[in-house]
């Protein structure tokens, strides 16, 4: 519940038209279907990579949308803060996100 309160606080500041008031469940970023948006909960990657991703914007409470998969099905292109970045499945598996249920 603290998480919800926090996210609505940042939600007001960050982006638009995304409803954070509904219920959510924790998923891995790699499991989100194309077109859905999640909110980063935590990252669990080796030090340097974690650092780099966080400086690129992959920090808790950031919103991330699954844009498309590469022709071979992997890597996947994600959109975060209005720019696109591609990650392999094994990297995306280490990122936990909150997936909101649409009402």
């Amino acid at each position: 519940m603290v998480a919800i309160a926090l996210s609505s606080f940042f939600g007001a500041e960050t982006e638009d038209d995304f409803d954070l008031s509904g219920t959510w469940k924790l998923s891995l970023l790699s499991e989100l279907p194309i077109g859905t948006t999640g909110v980063v909960e935590s990252l669990d990657l080796p030090g340097e990579i974690q650092h780099q991703l966080m400086h690129m914007g992959f920090v808790p409470e950031a919103r991330i949308t699954v844009v498309r998969r590469a022709p071979a099905g992997d890597p996947t292109v994600y959109s975060i803060d209005g720019f696109e970045v591609a990650l392999r499945r094994d990297t995306a598996q280490a990122i936990q996100v909150r997936e909101y249920q649409t009402k």
Binding site: H55, M56, G57, V59, A70, V77, V85, A86
Partner: protein, 631 residues
């Protein structure tokens, strides 16, 4: 030597920093935010720019002559996301900013370039940069695009929040640059209170607090992000489509080769006619003695035989330029990641490999963006297998001389283009195979992650493409005017001493005959052997060498170079020769850059021997197979 990357060097002032006095200014910013475009604007230099993150991998220095401040030095740095380092290129930037780069003083002022289309994230970098406490001017680049797409930012409010001046600019169009002059003039006055210590910065080193800080600031300064560009999404929908994506990728490659032949060849033939006519016109003025023989049969024939490939090389560079400037290169890396992973490399390694189609030297430097050291070394070692433009002259020459111009798939693909493409594929496969070998033996490592930012598509500008072609044309002409000229001159002399010797009994003839037994099984004659020796300097030198040697031989003097080769070589020998060039590492510039990047002679030596052995064995096999099975 063949340098693909000569820039003017400027000496950096090395005395210690004096507060309030500005001599060096550094360009800092996230990758692909337009620092190098701005650098070129401000200095009038032409450093390479393209549309993907990681184009600049080392510091570049120039005088600020573009805004009439030639007394100041501008340093362009590789893009960084933060001041913690991960890759070799980012380390360069951080070392310079922290004053830990030998020979480079801490800059006296910073121009922080941020892409205003993605300001919320880009502002995260402002925190650690402002914490350095240096005089800083924040430049919101691409502000014209941001405003055109309905974005907004209150720059005054932002300047107040950050405690440093902020200006909107467009590096591509050159607008807003007077702000830099104002900033530099103001900061040059002593007693300007250092900014940055009056404002509140987030906890250093913590990305999460940077982001909260950046988000807070963008809200308070009424930053409205521009509507995201739907064009890029729509284009990617097709170019990254499950079926169309890879097909389009192949079609693009296909088209490049076909165009290099169908448009490049006639241009090259016409250019060749012009050069020959020129030679014929000048010849009578030199009389009929040794001078004419030296100038026309020796030097002119040698140099012209290489020069005629200028149109094809420019066409190839035009294609590579379009791919790099549009932003497609990053997509190609994404499509190729799966293949690259199967050989144990990262999809990111694909970008240097693709740019090696132009030249291996900048491509090897571009490997600095690969974070994992073993992956980076493996990529460096296989990069010279990629078919660089210096191989184009000998490929074009042998193919035009020995492969009939027959259509293979109607008008879509001719036999010559098909052979050419197979040579490119062969080089690529050799690179992949070798990488696999390296990654499963001496350079074994766990797989590195793949993090690739996809830039938005941009229409390449005529100006930027034109500049690239001009630069490339100059490099090629300079090479022809120096290395090739010198080699042909020496060859002509050696093929005429001792006096009254025939070509076969001349010094060069005797040397050629001496090494001939070693290369006879490959289907090469002694003239080719001399060409193999001279082309160790640079690959295109072989064409000039053959031009000179066949020009000095009375039997082939009156024939064109193609006809002379047909007269002298079998199909097997000709194909073995191109295969030899596909594999061998005949390029001193590449050896030098590998030595520099790996900091040891061990790697270039290994590479040279390995590629040489592979070349010998493969050409031997080619010649023997054609000799016994095809003929």
């Amino acid at each position: 030597m063949s340098s693909c990357c000569n820039t003017e060097t400027v000496d950096l002032p090395i005395e210690p920093r004096v507060p309030g006095r500005i001599r060096t200014v550094a360009l800092v910013g996230p990758p692909n935010s337009g620092k190098s475009t701005l650098f070129n604007r401000l200095t009038g230099l032409r450093q390479k720019v393209a549309n993907y993150p990681g184009v600049t991998v080392e510091q570049r220095v120039g005088k600020l002559s573009g805004i009439d401040r030639s007394d100041l030095t501008l340093i362009d740095l590789p893009g960084i996301y933060g001041l913690d380092t991960y890759s070799e290129d980012a380390r360069v930037a951080v070392d310079v900013l922290r004053g830990e780069m030998p020979g480079t003083p801490v800059p006296d002022a910073i121009l922080l370039v941020l892409d205003s289309l993605h300001l919320r994230r880009q502002l995260m970098l402002a925190a650690p940069v402002l914490a350095l406490g240096l005089p800083t001017l924040i430049l919101l680049n691409m502000s014209d695009l941001m405003e055109a797409r309905g974005g907004h930012i209150d720059t005054l409010a932002l300047a107040k929040e950050l405690g440093v001046p902020v200006a909107k600019i467009s590096a591509t169009r050159g607008t807003g640059l007077d702000s830099i002059n104002h900033f530099l003039n103001r900061k040059a006055e002593p007693d300007t209170p250092a900014a940055a210590n009056t404002i509140e910065l987030p906890v250093l080193g913590n990305a999460r607090s940077y982001r909260q800080w950046a988000t807070g600031i963008s809200t308070r300064t009424k930053y409205k992000a521009p509507v995201s560009n739907q064009t890029t999404k729509r284009i990617d929908h097709v170019l990254l489509h499950r079926v169309w994506g890879p097909l389009i990728f192949l079609a693009v490659v296909f088209a490049v080769f076909q165009v290099v032949f169908s448009i490049g060849q006639p241009l090259s033939d016409a250019f060749s006619d012009v050069l020959n006519t020129l030679g014929d016109r000048v010849a009578p003025l030199l009389g009929h003695g040794w001078l004419e023989s030296l100038a026309i049969d020796g030097v002119w024939r040698g140099v012209a035989s290489v020069l005629v490939f200028l149109p094809q090389i420019l066409l190839l560079f035009l294609f590579i330029g379009v791919l790099e400037d549009s932003g497609y290169l990053a997509r190609a890396a994404l499509i190729a990641d799966r293949v690259m992973r199967s050989i144990g490399l990262n999809g990111k390694a694909f970008i240097p490999l693709l740019s090696a189609y132009a030249c291996a030297v900048p491509a090897i430097m571009a490997t600095r963006t690969i974070e994992n050291k073993r992956d980076r070394f493996a990529t460096i070692l296989v990069t010279p297998f990629m078919t660089c433009s210096a191989r184009l002259p000998i490929y074009m020459l042998m193919i035009a001389a020995f492969i009939p111009n027959k259509p293979l798939l109607g008008d879509l693909l001719g036999m010559r283009a098909a052979v050419m493409m197979s040579l490119y594929v062969l080089g690529f496969l050799a690179a992949l195979g070798t990488a696999r070998l390296l990654k499963s033996s001496i350079l074994k490592a766990s797989s590195a992650p793949f993090i690739l930012e996809l830039p938005q598509y941009r229409l390449p500008t005529v100006r930027s493409l034109g500049l690239r072609l001009m630069d490339r044309g100059k490099v090629f002409m300079r090479q022809a005017g120096t290395v090739i000229l010198a080699v042909t001159l020496v060859l002509w002399i050696l093929s005429h001493v001792p006096f009254h010797a025939t070509l076969d009994t001349s010094f060069i003839g005797r040397l050629g005959h001496f090494i001939e037994p070693a290369i006879r099984p490959l289907g090469f004659n002694w003239k080719i052997g001399i060409g193999l020796l001279t082309s160790v300097a640079a690959r295109e030198v072989i064409v000039g060498t053959l031009g000179t040697l066949y020009g000095a031989d009375p039997a082939t003097q009156s024939l064109g170079l193609q006809a002379a080769l047909r007269h002298d070589l079998t199909l097997g020998g000709a194909m073995a020769l191109v295969i030899f060039f596909a594999f061998a590492l005949q390029c001193t510039s590449t050896l030098a850059i590998v030595r520099r990047e790996t900091n040891s002679w061990k790697w270039p030596a290994l590479q040279f021997v390995y590629m040489g052995c592979l070349a010998y064995v493969a050409s031997l096999a080619t010649n023997q197979i054609i000799l016994h099975f095809i003929r």
